[in-house]
Symmetry: none
Subunit: 133 residues, 4 copies
């Protein structure tokens, strides 16, 4: 697993792991049932503290991205289509989008460029890969 962690970032390492893991699942680099490295393996590979990896894994499990089977290891979870997002979650993401668009427009990035980025990213990540149908 290739993680690209930046310890200088203001985003905590455990959050970087959570996000990149979700990215890999969206990109179908991982499929449901795939075994992912143990906390100890990954922490020694990334040269970070096991507790940091553990925190990331716990958050991923809470979000239903991975599943832990006692004594056997950790696996990418089956994703159910029924996943229903709340109004609140949607609101929060729209706000994030707004924030990014204001920042981008402010420094002079053209609307067309932003729209193009969005389309490219949606082509890459839009849809629901790995969802049980």
């Amino acid at each position: 697993m290739n993680f690209n962690l930046n310890p200088r970032s203001h985003v905590p390492i455990w959050e970087q792991i959570v996000h990149q893991m979700k990215e890999m699942v969206m990109k179908e680099i991982f499929s449901p049932q795939d075994k992912i490295p143990s906390v100890r393996e990954l922490s020694s590979q990334l040269v970070i503290n096991p507790n940091t990896v553990s925190k990331a894994y716990q958050e991923l499990e809470r979000q239903g991205v991975i599943e832990t089977i006692r004594g056997k290891g950790t696996f990418v979870a089956e994703r159910s289509v029924e996943v229903q997002f709340s109004e609140q979650q949607a609101e929060k993401l729209r706000d994030e989008l707004k924030r990014t668009i204001i920042e981008a427009s402010y420094i002079g990035i053209e609307s067309d460029m932003i729209l193009q980025w969005t389309k490219e990213l949606l082509d890459e990540f839009g849809g629901e890969p790995n969802a049980k149908r």
Copy 2:
């Protein structure tokens, strides 16, 4: 100045101020040369710690959004069109966009919805208001 600050949010208050200030400039609620309240005035108006306002103003000044003129006060800065963004800045914003799109797709928000949001927000904030041409 109407700020909508949420102390319960995990976004630092100084960052909320910075962002809303930029939003107001983008919406042309403020024009260059407009005087804005002093740190003391604003902090007592918003009932927050002066250090917080001070930090926000420092960041806004660093980004060239406002200017302080000794003995006269603080003003919205003139924006020049020639403002050129760096590759690095663009990269960072594209990454933010990517992050939001992954999260949104992950919880099942349709690509069409995300695209619609983007268009709406670009209509509202796209362009370069207040820029000296």
Copy 3:
């Protein structure tokens, strides 16, 4: 013996076995003197680690649910009515009940619903089946 084991659950597998075994006895699916599979048989049938079954059997024996007779095998134990529970045991179970009721009320499950569940479950499991009278 039909066990419904869920390795993804955070309840240890040996505990799931213990509990389902007791449930089967309460439902009179088993009667005293019935022979139950050996550790080896059950572990290979359920495709789990023999140590896990062994731990479950030890706990069941400790609780007087099953009995091992050297050279003959393992059997459902005779239950005597005189089984007297201690204040401590009762206290512990009342606490568990309290915990569940607090959690349920907290997320907004109606008192009536909780009461109905209790009545249904008592109809299904209340009483002392298989007890020697």
Copy 4:
């Protein structure tokens, strides 16, 4: 705040804190907006590690029981009536109830006693205290 922590219990200390905190909110010992002790205060009062208290507070915040205001402290959250529980959550709690009832019946606790306990506990904790109406 009176916590009754048992380090010998198999229930982690942070979980005991979470549960007892919810109990106190249900009993209206705390009301929304009430300030609760800081992580440092509580950890020194309970003579446990700050990280353990921190973990409990983070879980309580995730569940919407408390709110953190940066630099100001932690407060009991306003509870909204709209709290909607999922089928899955209800299922899990019914299972817990089932488990407790089987255990209780098994050791010979009368159905009437269990029903009485339930009614007493519902009188004490049923309903939605502190909910914004």
